[in-house]
């Protein structure tokens, strides 16, 4: 038995580390998504000079509304799980999974830190280090369209089907722009692995400017962010569901099935925030922080402990994620909704040509600098 363990030590350690990383990272994301449901209501309340939910309490302690996500969850579980009589039972059940699972799977390739040395082993702070992880991101976010479309199709309701058609058209269109905006980054950094992309963003330009994606591709960042919000189906692009007026693809859903759709939207907020931070804002990079410690442009050095550096980098990634999530919430509560023809016009007539132009300009500049 011991020999078997000894022989497969690397395998077992790898599995254990992977399970640990999945547990910690996924739980952090789920917890943050739960908090985001509260944050959405609190942020919107504060923006509108209101107080927001603060009544759900346990033994009289409300903590200014901290228990509202739990109360919402309990309420959702206790609601009747209704399936329309004419609905396609199998697809109707599958659709919420298609909405939630690809989004959660995407977090496997997002690096949340460089690496830590544990007992002489190098522990990469990313769940799955895949050489072409950027394409995996695009591919899996394409699968999320199935959740929207199956949800509308399987409920056999014309309103839900219309919502699903709108949703599929929007997501397919913006998927194209989303992919094309990232081509510039691929050309500059020459890698499609997110971890390598982040490592490449640690370099300095002109000796003092961190080579973050937003510095080398500022135009692509704006296009990417617009397309990502549209892909995420949030205001100002939320005419897929349009909570306040129009009816969306999950119209026939109730109870936890509905909660899965709702929750996937909040998980997508985190995903978009993490992708924006990873691709354009240096991921876990802290400016001037290297493996040995801070090295400022002037040459001053502040050596730091290895674990402190890892903690700082993971903390920086978390801070960037939270900041982007906040920005997404503020955008959702500031801007009015597009009309559908404006939405499609923006995608095909504005963003797509601009994304292509961005690729052209990036290529021209790289050619001029002699990097190709």
């Amino acid at each position: 038995m011991m020999e078997l363990l000894e022989a497969n030590k690397d395998m077992l350690l790898f599995t254990g580390a992977a399970v640990l990383k999945i547990g910690v990272f996924l739980n952090a994301i789920m917890g943050f998504a739960g908090l985001l449901t509260l944050a959405e209501r609190k942020v919107s309340a504060l923006m509108q000079d209101r107080i927001g939910p603060n009544r759900a309490s346990v033994f009289g302690f409300a903590f200014n509304g901290l228990f509202h996500p739990a109360a919402d969850g309990i309420k959702m579980i206790l609601k009747e799980d209704f399936v329309p009589g004419r609905a396609d039972k199998l697809l109707f059940t599958l659709a919420p999974f298609f909405a939630l699972v690809p989004v959660l799977a995407l977090f496997a390739v997002i690096p949340f830190g460089d690496y830590v040395m544990v007992f002489g082993y190098q522990l990469d702070l990313v769940i799955a280090e895949i050489p072409l992880s950027l394409f995996l991101v695009l591919a899996l976010s394409g699968i999320a369209i199935y959740g929207v479309f199956l949800g509308g199709w399987a409920s056999r309701s014309n309103f839900a089907l219309l919502g699903a058609l709108r949703g599929a058209a929007q997501m397919v269109s913006y998927e194209v722009v989303l992919g094309l905006t990232l081509v510039g980054l691929l050309m500059i950094f020459g890698t499609a692995s997110l971890q390598d992309l982040v490592r490449a963003q640690g370099r300095l330009l002109f000796g003092w400017l961190p080579a973050w994606g937003v510095v080398v591709q500022p135009f692509a960042f704006i296009l990417f962010f617009v397309a990502a919000i549209a892909e995420n189906k949030r205001t100002p692009f939320d005419l897929v569901e349009g909570e306040s007026e129009i009816i969306g693809y999950f119209m026939e859903y109730s109870s936890m099935r509905f909660a899965a759709f709702m929750f996937s939207e909040f998980v997508e907020i985190i995903l978009v925030s993490m992708l924006s931070a990873t691709l354009f804002f240096g991921g876990w990079q802290v400016p001037y922080l290297y493996e040995s410690g801070f090295i400022l442009p002037g040459g001053a050095q502040f050596p730091l402990n290895h674990y402190l550096i890892a903690a700082l980098q993971t903390g920086a990634f978390a801070a960037k994620t939270v900041a982007f999530s906040w920005l997404l919430l503020v955008i959702r509560w500031s801007l009015p909704r597009f009309r559908f023809d404006q939405l499609m016009g923006l995608c095909w007539k504005r963003l797509l040509p601009l994304a292509l132009l961005n690729i052209l300009l990036t290529g021209a500049v790289l050619l001029f600098l002699g990097k190709i």
């Binding site: 942020v43 504060l46 923006m47 509108q48 000079d49 209101r50 107080i51 503020v330 955008i331 500031s334």
Partner: protein
């Protein structure tokens, strides 16, 4: 006179047409509200309603929960004339009259119910009352209830004297009170 407002619908310039600077301006407005309220929650106009109440502005004080006024001897001023029940547009008042054993002139309400779930707080009953017997000045705002029965006010709930109430002393009805007041006796 019709007032005409001329709107200057000039075409948007380039910066406005690409929206981004305007979006940033809008975000600055909303995020300024966010941060100001985050660090100074006391500055928000919202109050925690049932625990914390704003003083009602002048006219709103006369449109709060009803009450029936009492005379100095403790009998209700109401003479069960059915004027309020007739005036009520929501049909929420129900009165049953009774007679005093020793008083052949006036009636009194044996039953006086107000169904708050139907009441529209219009104050017509107060206007209609010839005896100044019903008033809506308790400063209580009828709120939610767990059953319909809780929203039904009976005579016992309604009869009350507020401190400083002029009906504590004086004669039985309003006309007599005003007559005495004009002579300087009340």
């Amino acid at each position: 006179m019709i007032s005409v407002k001329k709107v200057d619908n000039r075409p948007l310039n380039f910066l406005e047409r690409i929206y981004l600077p305007e979006i940033v301006r809008g975000l600055l407005v909303t995020s300024r509200h966010f941060f100001v309220n985050l660090f100074n929650p006391k500055g928000m106009p919202t109050v925690q309603y049932p625990e914390q109440k704003l003083p009602l502005p002048h006219a709103a004080k006369e449109r709060t929960r009803h009450r029936l006024k009492l005379r100095a001897d403790g009998t209700p001023k109401c003479v069960a004339c059915f004027m309020c029940q007739t005036a009520c547009p929501a049909y929420c008042i129900r009165i049953e009259a009774a007679e005093y054993p020793d008083n052949p002139v006036e009636k009194s309400p044996a039953v006086f119910d107000i169904d708050l779930s139907r009441c529209v707080m219009c104050g017509m009953c107060v206007e209609a009352c010839p005896e100044d017997a019903i008033a809506m000045d308790t400063l209580e705002i009828p709120g939610g209830a767990l059953s319909r029965a809780q929203l039904k006010l009976t005579k016992e709930d309604l009869l009350m004297t507020l401190p400083g109430d002029p009906s504590d002393k004086g004669a039985a009805n309003r006309l007599a009170n005003e007559h005495m007041k004009s002579r300087g006796e009340a």
